[in-house]
Amino acid sequence: MALLMVLGVSLVAALLLALAGDRKYAPEINIFGSAATFVASLALAMEVYEKGPMIAGGNFFFVDAFSVYLTVLTAFVSATTAIFSRRYMRHERSHGKVGKSGMKFYHSMFQLFIFAMLLALLTNNVGVLWISMELATLATVLLVSLYRTPSAIEAAWKYFILCGVGIALALFGTVLLYFAAEKVFGEGSQGLLWTNLTRVSGRLDPTVMSLAFIFFMVGYGTKVGLVPLHNWLPDAHSEGPTPISAVLSGLLLNVALYALVRCKVLVDGATGSGNKTGYIMMAFGLLSITVASFSLLRQKDIKRLFAYSSIEHMGIATFAFGLGGHVATFGALLHMLVHSLTKSAIFFTAGHASQMHSTQDMKSIKGLIKGNPMVGWGLMLGVLAIAGMPPFGVFTSEFLILTAAMKSVPYFVPFFLLGIAVAFAALFSKVMPMVFGEVPANQSPLRAAHLPVVIHMALMLVLGIYLPTFLSNWFHAAVEILR
């Protein structure tokens, strides 16, 4: 029941907003829809927490600790983003950047995007997972080009083509997986269900599964934004409306990583001992951390800066999942959570900062703390948090991952640390001039949406100091699944 609510509300809201997306109360419908989805996802989480993994809808849905935690996170961030988008998009609309049909489209696609991600998380079918990942891409492609500027269209085209190809390769992987499963199950739709596949993963053909993993890695890795498949990401994040950047970075990358990790577990089951897939993931992860952190130094656009930071953090999570083991996997799960919360909060403040200065060029953004203390401090604290300073949550997760890496792959640790250090220096040196200093002439006051930022920051702080028991139980259960 809760499960149907989780999926149904966003779908209904998408239809409703397709009609009424430009009305005065459209943002409120958007907020209400996302909030209702969040409440439903909490109910679903309670159910799973008490009764363990559940299968519903005649084998169509499967919810366990891993997917339900991401479901709650997705619903939560979409709700806060909807709150943020109310003021943000109203500003864009009144400044003539978006038209009437643009607003309808924006609201409707926002909800459809959330629906697609939730479906990807809740489905039991590897094929449907692929379909919903593609749907999530398609829903956001035209949102990236919402402003119709030449660079926005270029970014959206890049996003469309690169992610289209990437995800097509993931489909190839899915076909190969089905091919291997068919040998065990025979013909029929049984062969693509997680619940069945995990049961028999030891009997799947290792050669086929290794080949399938390469395609999954390249395919879903493109969506995670791993270097060298990351080219679409900074463009799409910088050119689209900021609420979309926030959900792309905070949620879509997570869901793609979820798909990749699920596939990895199956492949590991088939290939047996020797963490081959893990080393591939660690290599991609380390490369992403290194390249992204050095790219941070060269950025001039505020949203591009944080897009690269997202690549870096997805690299960290991928590295940790590749590392495997209890501590690293726990750290990776926590990292996905805290990165998502922190990064979306940063995008909220960065969006407001660029609205105040009518530009995304970091050179022209100055004196944020004097101009609007909430936005300024929000950005400052957000950057401190994302750079891994205690007492925020990212510190905890990075520390866990680092500890695990020291123990099993000490020769990788220097690269890892170098990446984090460079990223810290780059982010800090770019953000300091923006938040401090006098208010420049080009700054205009703004009614900003403070609530989402405050909520996210508070959660990050809590997660850095103290991990609630239910959350750690949840993560432990998820770690068991990913073994």
Partner: protein
């Protein structure tokens, strides 16, 4: 029809699909591309039906019909109308180095055979030697997307890549489960509408569908 005859027909169709892929790679006229693409869809659809017939699986007929409508009629028709509306039907794309492209294409085919050789032994199915062809079609689609610089031709490359994926689904397995196949078809249809919208946006913003214009978003040094 005996199994061996079906296998032979299937192999011929596989060869034709590969041939059309090479055709797409070097065809310079836009209408010519659409024709070749429609033929590729037709071969794909017939091959799916042949597998369905020889294996006695009726759900493959549905997927064959789906391919026929989507890949032979709907998508070429959408592209045709778009090209007409945007008045680009007379454009000829200048391709540099056709021989090199062809050679790379051949290398990709060999690579596909090499990559799938451990798998082919496993399959006891009538269509086993065609997995390599399917992978080659995917790779040639990718190559086409890399070498072409026009929005329309990139999309045709993308769709032919997708054809390759459908071919994998029938040649490696007896087609994907129906729910998956329907979903994939739906996604492709949505994608078709999206690139249709894109063509208009690109041509109104950049005054042409040439992707050479779109090189602003780069890292500055």
């Amino acid at each position: 029809m005996g199994i061996s005859l079906a296998a032979q027909i299937y192999s011929v169709l596989a060869a034709l699909i590969l041939l059309t892929s090479f055709g797409l790679l070097v065809q310079r006229r836009i209408y010519g591309l659409l024709h070749i693409f429609a033929w590729q869809g037709l071969f794909l659809s017939v091959s799916t039906a042949v597998v369905g017939y020889s294996a006695g699986l009726h759900h493959l007929y549905i997927s064959a019909i789906l391919t026929l409508t989507l890949k032979v009629f709907v998508l070429p028709y959408i592209l045709y109308t778009l090209i007409h509306k945007l008045k680009i039907h007379k454009e000829v794309e200048d391709l540099v180095n056709i021989p090199t492209t062809m050679l790379i294409g051949i290398a990709l085919v060999i690579f596909s055979y090499y990559l799938t050789s451990p798998i082919r032994e496993l399959s006891t199915f009538v269509t086993r030697s065609t997995l390599a062809v399917a992978l080659a079609t995917v790779m040639l689609g990718l190559l086409m997307m890399i070498t072409r610089k026009k929005a329309v031709t990139q999309i045709v490359g993308f769709l032919s890549l997708e054809n390759g994926l459908f071919f994998v689904a029938t040649s490696a397995t007896y087609g994907m489960p129906l729910v998956v196949e329907l979903g994939v078809a739906l996604d492709i249809l949505i994608a078709a509408f999206i690139f249709g919208i894109f063509f208009f946006h690109i041509s109104t913003t950049f005054d042409s569908l040439d992707l050479k214009e779109m090189e602003k978003l780069k890292e500055e040094d």
